[in-house]
Symmetry: D2
Subunit: 396 residues, 4 copies
């Protein structure tokens, strides 16, 4: 007799009506059927909170007024009923306070990025993560794509030779006009430093480009020279960033991120060149990984279950045969898969396999602070603090 | 106080270990969180059946030995616990027998295509569907894509003017060699007429091309002239089909479907041309709909929540902002969404809104039989039986 | 001391002001600098004729009133001054009469296609070509593209294994409205059977698709089943064609050609599939040849001087390094290069190496007549006359 | 009676056997038939020189031993026979000395870029150009593409609104290995500072990216922050460059140029974003200009004679109908067309309409020197000398 698989009980803080990202988390978690939603504190508006919970099938008593109540109440429930994993999808300034308290109360955490509002706060959170022995994951969703792992594997196994150049870009256009002033809530809190932190575009998407570059190249960005800009009247934070960088193993490159590239959607893209060839991947066409071996025809490695050219890490992140597109939700589902594995195995490490964690959070925040300081100063190059550079190589 | 949303209870026939399509159904149903799996008869192999159920978190007593037992046992359960929707993912020859009995027992049905093994059997099933007043859906997944609805809407609203040409193609390559002989189960039963019916490629994917053409063009294919082929030694059924066709409203076109186009993945593609412009859509890049207005620059309509150019039917089939790829599972999830709507609203019609139903099954089977007869005979043109041609315009 | 290279003296019949194709011929011939224009009878309008000649730098006395005068006058000139090659760029009905007389008078001929108005006339011309021992070339320009030769070479050398499927399409849109009625001269004579022959679209571009399919596949199209259409009121000839076909070595396929695919430009495209892989080439992106080897990643073979994967025939048709686009004029220049080689070497064969000749003309006309007869009749399949099928393999 | 058009008599310095660029110049000049080659000093190797001249049909007496002899001898010929335009296709260090002397002797000049080896030398040349009243053109071939002019026109006419971002990139891969050491002559002299100047990649292709950015954006690059690199052992000059920049009218951007992006061909690409939309153009697919208007579907403007959306400057640079690819040679032929117009009209200005001239040379050299100085120093930003910034807006 086989024991029936149990689902992991998860709760949400944030994600009331109209939240795109919370819905995406629930959809992603739903794909592989390993989670069930058991509680939430979705909104500070009690009506919104209750409506959201009801629509999601939650019992009213597990739809809590605020996150403190959620943590306290769930902690008192029997272990068999109690929430196991807390998903944090609030504005940025709440990420760290909630995460710290949840971890301390014994819950696993999966948090939207950034990990916190500034580097000191991430460092404090880091200590809590380490001591809690709970899983802490950070929703760097793009690192969940199968072909990103394929690219990383090909670099690591030497297919490109020695890496020389890394070009990563993320030119969005949705903040080309004053959408915050026109009532867009997502744009609104993102431009409020008390909720968003000191970085605008650089924090929102620059960190995605940064973590992707380090993840694929397998080396850390050490020195950067940055230019930030803000292009709409009344906007407080940056909406555009470009920088030159040098990496720890000798590669150099360029990072672009912008939210005023009018007309662009979400074209995160990375190119890596070594002395034996190059790789190119576009998030908007995630099934294709372009490989240009030196002096041979370019090849397009396509994803799909059973494709013989895929590495193990890529293969296990695919669900469908070639030609059946998988996308953003499936990439996020891969992160949820890593969380599920770690939780079910009772791992006492804080790091779920294949899921970006607190080290990625440290790196990202150091990147933001260093870039903004460099932009404001006169020095050409600034170094991302050395004690934090160990994290570019995420464990698998 | 808001009542908590209830999930729809679903069961599976078929889909033991290794079944791609059953897993895809479960993943698709999981995305929007409106279904819960409550029972199954996954495999005739008892071990496989129990293992599958256990892995899916089912209680052993609702993991039934065969589909007859499943139907009988579920029917005896209290209404609050009883399965509501049966998903049929068996080989083709079982689709109709199971569907007939499930409908008669009062269950809603969502069946893999084809609806049955031959036209007579689909007609018999059609009668049962009508009299049962239960929902019957057919997994023509490609009709769940948002941009397919956008294309259909643009044709219907006259953006292309009078439709003249429809070119639909579906060239796969996975049967280029004797994969059935090499142990591929999917390929094996598909080439066994007792399990698959008289059509090979034409039934498996030709019907997808056919239903897509009628759906988007908004008119029926009336006359066809077909050529079928079989290219691998020992293969019993066709692996390749091409045909010319004429439609009821005056358009003409070409339909290609093949499983021996070596190296191709799943590039279902449709082009429609009218006197005012043309449209083009590729399943492998489903977010883009190419529109070529006469004497104006070509435009690429991109999908995404909130894109102002999308029709209502397309918009409601999107989950993510532009540039966040959605794919095959999300298209199938759209069909599950239609099923959920219909079931929750207690619709007494057999047709779930936006979900292909038994009429699509009738059309598809008439198409298969007409094409094969035409291929074998000497007549240039054969007519798809007229009494069945009402179904090209799926209700929304 | 090296003798200075002499340029080949060429003359034109047709190509007065406003002729696109005549200008393209002169531009193509100019690229490699092996020809000089010495005479012409450009227009039956004497003013237009003289203006055209003057603009091209011709002396007035070699700008003749009509083609008969041109042939007679040039024949009387000393060999050192006399035209060597006549370019025929008139409407279709004049191609054969002029070519016959020019060949008989000892001139080499490069004619726009079709070779003549009907099959009997091509056969008569064929006899003259053979007996004249002069070069006769036909401007099937698309057979001048380097990557078409690369595709042909890969098929011939077995890279694809046994060829099973050939899909060739040529969907233009420029005749979607009554452009002839609106004064477009090119469209006007093309729709006049006395100038154009019995075929409209099938003759104008269907023959390009046909010759490309035979050229690349290395086998002849033997049986066809065709559907033609005409979509604009008052139009006399077909503007749209689709057909199924079977080839001499067992491959089957589909040919599409249309001039009412609104919004399309000039996307001639061919796909060939064998049991070991597939190839795909698009005229609008001529530098890329897509190769899909079975069970290996797809590859994009790019053209360019020195690319190590190119066959000799492709390499010698390139002028620029990879990434420097070559296009239609360069493809036509490759045909001029073949003519130059043949003329300079004093070849007594009628066939210039790499240049489609009278056999291609015979095949094309047999194709047109067979397709139209099939379309009008009740038979499913019609055979292209067997005695003409030797020409599918153009000599290199 | 119309007077016969005379061809412009041109001569070459440089371009012996094996020179790609000289052959490209001759092919480009040949397309529109407005030039005839009358003399040359092709190589310092007398055998090579004579063979080249003979192969090109030159009389031996106009195939000169060196460029000094060429200039002297041609100057003594009667005006009706004398060379009018000198094409300079030597290694870089000879560009300025030859150009100066040729202009002084009354010849028009079309020079490969760069104009000279350093800024002082360009300034000296600039004086000679001004005083000579002869045409001086610089082969910035990419500024000859029709769709580059279309892009420039759309920016200038406000289609994008206020320009905010310019991203220009030119990642080649051909110097990924030590091809100079392996005998590649083109690579060899390019890495010799005495022949090439102080810039490697930045001079060879960085200047193309630079001039394209200024040309399309219609504003000048004022401040730059640059990083250069050299990646192959023994290489003397840079093979890779990246920089941030700020423009005179408020736009900022990034410029990338590299010759060690292994596997890349020649993908010069520019993107420009304003507050109303964005534009994107790729040299390897030059017929398409992507336009992303804010809040409207993206559009692809395609080139071709008669396309109603093209501006006059783009239209007059097209030869063929849409879908008939034009490429690099046609872009260069557009520069030759501008030279021909200017020479035939006896313009006493030194600037041929639509042809980059000495001002572009000044800008390019100031760019090279500023970038290298910035790279070597500690300052974050360096300014391209202000007195030279007037040239970003090329006259049409």
């Amino acid at each position: 007799m086989h024991a029936a698989a149990k689902k992991i009980r998860m709760g949400f803080v944030g994600g009331g009506e109209g939240s795109f990202i919370a819905r995406a988390h629930r959809q992603a978690a739903g794909i592989d059927g390993r989670f069930e939603l058991v509680c939430g504190a979705f909104s500070r508006d009690p009506q919104n909170n209750q409506r959201t919970g009801a629509a999601l099938g939650l019992a009213a008593e597990r739809c809590y007024d605020d996150w403190q109540t959620l943590l306290e109440s769930e902690a008192r429930l029997p272990a068999e009923q109690r929430m196991q994993l807390l998903i944090i999808v609030t504005p940025n300034h709440l990420h760290a306070p909630i995460a710290r308290q949840a971890l301390s109360a014994g819950f696993h955490v999966f948090s939207e990025k950034p990990a916190a509002l500034n580097l000191a706060e991430v460092q404090a959170l880091h200590s809590v993560v380490i001591s809690s022995q709970r899983i802490y994951g950070l929703a760097h969703t793009y690192l969940g794509y199968a072909m990103v792992w394929q690219a990383r594997d090909m670099v690591a196994s030497g297919v490109l030779g020695r890496v020389r150049k890394v070009i990563v870009e993320y030119p969005q256009g949705w903040l080309s006009t004053d959408v915050a002033g026109q009532g867009n809530k997502q744009a609104g809190w993102r431009d409020d430093p008390t909720q968003s932190g000191i970085g605008g575009c650089i924090g929102d998407i620059g960190t995605h480009a940064f973590s992707l570059a380090e993840f694929v190249a397998g080396q850390s960005i050490q020195f950067i020279s940055a230019m930030l800009g803000s292009h709409v009247e009344g906007r407080q934070l940056d909406d555009d960033v470009a920088m030159l960088f040098k990496m720890t193993e000798g590669a150099s490159g360029v990072l672009l991120a912008s939210q005023v590239c009018a007309g662009e959607e979400n074209p995160l893209k990375i190119r890596v060149y070594g002395d034996k060839g190059g790789l190119e991947w576009h998030q908007e066409e995630p099934a294709s990984l372009i490989h240009r071996p030196l002096n041979e025809p370019m090849r397009i490695l396509r994803s799909g279950v059973g494709q013989p050219w895929l590495c193990a890490a890529a293969s296990q992140r695919m669900r469908l045969p070639a030609g059946h597109p998988e996308g953003y939700l499936e990439a996020m589902a891969n992160l949820y898969g890593g969380l599920a594995e770690a939780i079910l195995q009772g791992a006492d490490d804080h790091q779920a396999p294949g899921v970006p964690g607190i080290e990625t959070g440290l790196r990202g925040m150091a990147f933001i602070e260093t870039a903004i300081a460099n932009h404001r100063g006169n020095a050409k190059w600034s170094e991302i603090p050395a004690q934090l550079t160990g994290a570019a190589n995420h464990e698998q």
